[in-house]
């Protein structure tokens, strides 16, 4: 039964005012903070892949609180590694290195971190507010979407994921097709036909997405740690300066935070863009629009930290808009979140907007509250978290091994899981080495089932005439136009940000 959005928002808030839900959110915030700070290796995709088999056995809201609590704060504290070690702390904080590391070496690490926490917290709140406004604004449009339109939206998203975000579009499309193919393993629900099962009972229900994601992201990340021997062969910059100065810097640059946050929200909404570009786009925008940026950016300008960090956090709000309202994930984390929602019996997209609006609002509330808590944690525990960032690889690699093997084995408790995790770990290593984007494969894998379901429903209900529906035609035109437009390289170019920040990056690298 449908309820008014106001009541849904109120109910959504009441849902999370339960001790176990709130505790789960706090545990999620702790995990997310540790993930952001811990030496390069633990990323949110890996954390989601580890948590997924555990939380899908919980009550939905408790599990959601843990997952969203973790992802909401993961970007807020992501500046430790860029500022202290001069290496990206995650995919969305690569640009922070350019100005954060020179600040760290200059004895202003705490100021850079303070600016990053404050910018991250403000970005998170702006992203969440946008999400809050998007639901009532988009609801009438969403109600017009049926299976044919949703199929085309996913097709559009996948084509954009593969082409727009990759330097190597063909490899992106190959990875997507491979993911789609893997999604087809097992018994088809519609016809009962066994596809790619090879008489193996293990393959009857397909291969668990969480095992593939664990292996694909976990193994190469652990390998990076083992290769660089972080904490042993690389030492951090000293933690000096004042956190409050950084927070004041951010408040003084509030308009930059607002602008970059909307860059983040936009990146979150557009299919295919993601955390790999959000920081560079915001940094490029700041380098273009800030006074005196040409001289100071790359030499430790605090605005070069504020811009990417605010955008990176606001992006999560944009991500959730398409994930929850259209059922299309914008990255690996939201793809795995959709897997969890499906396991609990919720179908993200119009169906969830109609039937579970209160749950969507609970997610929004958790996202906002967790972001604020994450910011406070960053300020209060800055010194302790900095120690965590210096954790040696000899601790981190076995921890990753343990969680990868534990996570994989806990799905079915079948020794074949171990073989699968090893095989996909090796595949992940080669994909990363040879430039085949792993996120494209995961998106294909997660969306494969949904796309087939929507396509089947469309064909069963309308035959080929679904192609003549106005919404489908409009979306197909958008798909083709954006595909062609992107292939011609006119939509987004890193070179734009790169040319602005290129000198800065070179300067930062020279300084090391």
């Amino acid at each position: 039964m449908e309820v008014s959005l106001f009541h849904a928002a109120l109910q959504g808030l009441l849902n999370i005012v339960q001790l176990k839900v709130f505790l789960a959110m706090l545990v999620g915030v702790s995990i997310g903070t540790f993930t952001a700070v811990a030496p390069q290796g633990l990323g949110m995709p890996l954390v989601y892949a580890i948590l997924l088999p555990v939380v899908i056995k919980w009550e939905p809201l408790t599990g959601i609180a843990l997952l969203i609590g973790a992802s909401a704060v993961s970007a807020i504290c992501a500046a430790y590694l860029p500022v202290l070690f001069g290496i990206p702390g995650g995919s969305g904080s690569q640009a922070t290195v350019v100005d954060g590391y020179p600040m760290g070496k200059r004895g202003e690490a705490r100021r850079a971190l303070g600016a990053s926490f404050m910018a991250g917290g403000m970005g998170c709140v702006i992203g969440t507010l946008t999400l809050l406004v998007a639901l009532p604004a988009a609801r009438p449009l969403i109600y017009l979407m049926g299976s044919p339109e949703l199929f085309v939206v996913m097709l559009w998203g996948l084509s954009m994921v593969a082409v727009l975000a990759g330097r190597r579009p063909i490899k992106g499309l190959i990875a997507t097709a491979f993911g789609l193919l893997l999604a087809m393993v097992g018994q088809q629900a519609q016809s009962g036909i066994m596809r790619f099962v090879f008489d193996q009972p293990y393959l009857l229900d397909g291969i668990a997405v969480s095992i593939i994601a664990l292996a694909l992201f976990g193994i190469p990340s652990a390998l990076d740690l083992a290769l660089t021997r972080l904490g042993v062969e690389q030492q951090p910059a000293p933690l000096r300066g004042s956190l409050i100065d950084g927070a004041k810097d951010t408040l003084r640059e509030w308009w930059l935070v607002v602008r970059c946050s909307f860059v983040g929200v936009w990146v979150g909404i557009v299919p295919g863009l993601g955390s790999q570009v959000v920081d560079w786009l915001a940094y490029g925008h700041a380098a273009q629009s800030c006074k005196g940026a040409k001289e100071s950016f790359g030499k430790g300008d605090v605005r070069g930290v504020i811009a990417p960090e605010s955008a990176n956090d606001a992006k999560d709000g944009g991500d959730l808009i398409t994930t929850l309202l259209l059922g299309f994930p914008q990255g690996v984390v939201t793809a795995l979140f959709i897997v969890a929602l499906l396991a609990w019996g919720f179908v993200p997209g119009p169906e969830m907007v109609k039937k579970n609006a209160d749950l969507i609002y609970s997610i929004i509330w958790i996202q906002g509250i967790a972001g604020i808590i994450g910011t406070l944690v960053g300020f209060v525990l800055a010194k302790e978290l900095a120690r965590l960032a210096g954790l040696r690889y000899s601790f981190m690699v076995p921890i990753l091994f343990i969680f990868i093997l534990l996570g994989a084995f806990s799905v079915n408790r079948d020794p074949v899981d171990l073989l699968v995790v090893v095989c996909f770990g090796i595949l992940g290593y080669f994909m990363k080495r040879f430039g085949y984007p792993r996120p494209a494969m995961i998106l294909g894998l997660v969306l494969g089932d949904l796309m087939e379901k929507y396509l089947y429903r469309s064909m069963a209900s309308y035959g080929f005439s679904w192609l003549t529906r106005p919404g489908v035609i409009l979306l197909l035109v958008v798909t083709v136009v954006s595909f062609v437009f992107t292939l011609r390289g006119r939509l987004v170019r890193k070179t734009e940000a790169g040319s602005l920040s290129g000198g800065a990056i070179a300067r930062a690298e020279d300084d090391r």
């Binding site: 994921v161 063909i170 790619f196 652990a222 040696r392 093997l405 890193k494």
Partner: protein
């Protein structure tokens, strides 16, 4: 080497097309027509580009943005290869140990040996890591969550 990896995708898509070709239309629509056939054509195109060094001539890519994370270690090729092989030996060894000994014994043992041998940590630190791992697996999963892990193949 890049061409060899692309060849892997060619073989997979070719096999998927061959296997799925006999299925009824409803079953092969997605795997064959949407995934395998386009995938095969793209993989063949990529194979041609790899074999002719097309990307290198064009400066390593198409001028867009890296979708996946890019992380350069700054190590020489020999060190990188040696450390990679050692890493995979540890991981595969760990997976085999889980199969043979069971997860409750294998993972603490893996933590102990990795910290001691590869990480060159001191005995007390390594033992502490092993104990923490044991507490996590046995204490949290087996005792508190009552999640029974299967015993290893060696113990029947």
């Amino acid at each position: 080497m890049t061409a060899n990896f692309t060849l892997f995708f060619v073989v997979v898509f070719l096999a998927a097309t061959r296997i799925g070709w006999e299925w009824p239309y409803i079953a092969k629509l997605m795997p064959v027509y949407v995934a395998a056939v386009p995938g095969l054509l793209l993989a063949l195109l990529q194979l041609y580009r790899d074999m002719t060094g097309w990307e290198k001539r064009r400066g390593g890519g198409d001028g867009g943005i890296e979708m996946d994370e890019v992380f350069t270690t700054g190590l020489d090729r020999g060190t990188q290869r040696r450390r990679t092989l050692i890493f995979f030996a540890w991981f595969i060894g760990g997976a085999m140990a889980v199969w043979l000994l069971g997860i409750v014994i294998a993972l603490p043992l893996l933590a102990l040996l990795y910290a001691l041998v590869e990480g060159r940590e001191k005995w007390p630190v390594s033992l502490l890591m092993a104990a923490a791992t044991f507490l996590l697996i046995w204490g949290l999963f087996e005792y508190l969550l009552e999640m029974r892990w299967p015993s290893g193949a060696l113990f029947g």
